[in-house]
């Protein structure tokens, strides 16, 4: 079932909600008008993404591409946003929704910064194509047995096309002899080590905070709710010790809490009851 986070629901029109529910009901009933359903869902996802980008220019709608002529540098940011911010993170459409927010923000900035260049047009269209393919497959999926596999395929396809777009931006910067700056993660003076994060099962929610923050909250009896950051799959920069809370589905023994430390670049996988 499609869930919209309550705190953000004011931004979503009633019309959109009803239309989305209609689409998903169609999916659940296996009705045959596949093209129409996909198009409608895509159009609604795009509308919602645009709404989120416009209403929140510091987080979901943050600048993802900019050219600094004085410094001769190209700044870009391809990092994903956490899945559960618009839809519930257990909703299958949260994956295309996240990709849609990213691509719409990128499209906005590319159109503004390099309107006459065409290096980004095809790669961006391919990302949108992979999102559409993903929506199409999710909308017409019957039963939940193949859902997880389909979602994993969706994520992989979208990630691959985003990598191509990333590469085209890098080539563009190289051709114009500009310094390429990947927008740094907002953090302390230490740059941190590049760590590849994997979460299994993929849609399980893992939240984390610095261990010092956790100790301070516990000591001062402050609720932890506002302190968590969502752990995003992919490459992130981390250093030091952290406290995490993995919200596994109930059938996988429910939530798990603990600490982990990053001392060097590498990979970290969050799995129920064990972390490697």
């Amino acid at each position: 079932m499609l869930m919209v986070n309550f705190s953000r629901s004011r931004r979503i029109s009633w019309a959109f909600s009803l239309a989305t529910i209609f689409c998903l009901m169609c999916r659940a009933n296996g009705q045959s008008s596949p093209g129409a359903n996909t198009e409608e869902t895509m159009s609604l996802l795009r509308k919602l993404a645009d709404e989120e980008i416009v209403s929140d220019d510091r987080f979901l709608g943050k600048t993802r591409f900019a050219i600094d002529s004085k410094a001769n540098s190209v700044l870009y940011d391809m990092t994903p946003v956490p899945l559960g911010l618009v839809f519930s993170d257990s909703d299958p459409l949260s994956i295309p929704m996240e990709a849609m927010i990213r691509t719409e923000a990128l499209k906005r900035d590319l159109q503004k910064s390099v309107p006459t260049e065409n290096f980004w047009i095809i790669p961006l269209a391919n990302v949108q194509g992979s999102i559409k393919k993903c929506v199409d497959s999710l909308v017409h999926l019957k039963g939940n047995s193949a859902l997880q596999k389909k979602e994993a395929d969706c994520s992989a396809d979208i990630a691959e096309q985003i990598d191509h777009l990333d590469l085209s931006i890098q080539t563009f910067a190289k051709d114009r002899k500009s310094t390429l700056i990947q927008r740094p993660v907002e953090r302390g003076p230490a740059v941190g080590y590049k760590v590849r994060v994997s979460i299994e099962p993929p849609r399980a929610r893992v939240k984390f905070m610095t261990l010092l923050e956790y100790k301070k909250c516990i000591n001062s009896h402050t609720p932890l709710t506002d302190q968590w950051n969502d752990m995003v799959e992919g490459d992130v920069k981390l250093i030091g010790r952290y406290h995490y809370l993995a919200e596994w589905p109930t059938e996988l023994n429910g939530p798990e809490e603990g600490n982990f430390e990053i001392r060097e670049p590498g990979a970290i996988t969050f799995r129920p009851n064990a972390r490697h």
């Binding site: 953090r187 302390g188 003076p189 230490a190 740059v191 941190g192 080590y193 610095t210 261990l211 010092l212 923050e213 100790k215 301070k216 000591n219 001062s220 981390l238 250093i239 030091g240 010790r241 001392r263 060097e264």
Partner: protein, 189 residues
């Protein structure tokens, strides 16, 4: 008069045969080399460029204003400069050891403060020390110490670093001036 001093200064910079001239040029280059060695107080590149510029100004100062100063006075100033250099270096190394930490390979060095934030002080104990708190805050000193104390340590370290190198430049420049003067004296019969 000034043209003569400028010429002297130019000759020293152009001279690669005299050991003292080479050493003086080396002193200008050393702070720049610290960019690669990563030993100057952070931000390393800014510190290194500023230090080299101030060293050059110090050398110009000595040539411009102390070139005609009597030899005993110059020798006294040179002694003071050498002692100040030694003292500055010791103080810098001590503070560097006490307040600068490296989070790990490939990471920039962090300058600590001396006054722990009250919210952090509340969680510290014999098993959980301030070094642990720094590691547990992504090595962000501002989450552990007060901003004021970090700024004081930063400025003291930076001032000591620049002071030490200026003292070295001044002593070496005076040495070069004295050597040049002596080379102009007629040989003893």
């Amino acid at each position: 008069m000034a043209v003569s001093q400028l010429r002297e200064f130019g000759e020293v910079l152009a001279d690669f045969r005299q050991l003292s001239s080479v050493m003086l040029k080396g002193v200008f280059i050393v702070p720049m080399a610290t960019i690669w060695l990563n030993v100057a107080p952070p931000p390393v590149s800014v510190t290194s460029v500023s230090t080299s510029t101030l060293e050059l100004l110090a050398a110009i100062w000595v040539f411009q204003f102390w070139y005609k100063t009597s030899e005993p006075l110059l020798e006294r100033r040179m002694k003071i400069a050498i002692l100040s250099f030694a003292l500055g270096l010791i103080c810098f190394l001590f503070l560097n050891q006490s307040f600068v930490v490296s989070p790990g390979s490939g990471q920039g060095r962090i300058i600590e403060g001396f006054n722990v934030r009250p919210d952090v002080a509340a969680v510290l104990n014999s098993n959980y020390r301030v070094e642990d708190a720094l590691r547990d805050s992504e090595y962000d000193p501002q989450k552990v110490w007060t901003e004021q104390s970090i700024a004081i340590v930063k400025n003291v370290l930076l001032s000591l670093w620049i002071f030490t190198f200026i003292c070295l430049t001044v002593s070496l420049t005076i040495f070069v001036v004295l050597q040049k003067r002596r080379s102009f004296l007629p040989a003893e019969a």
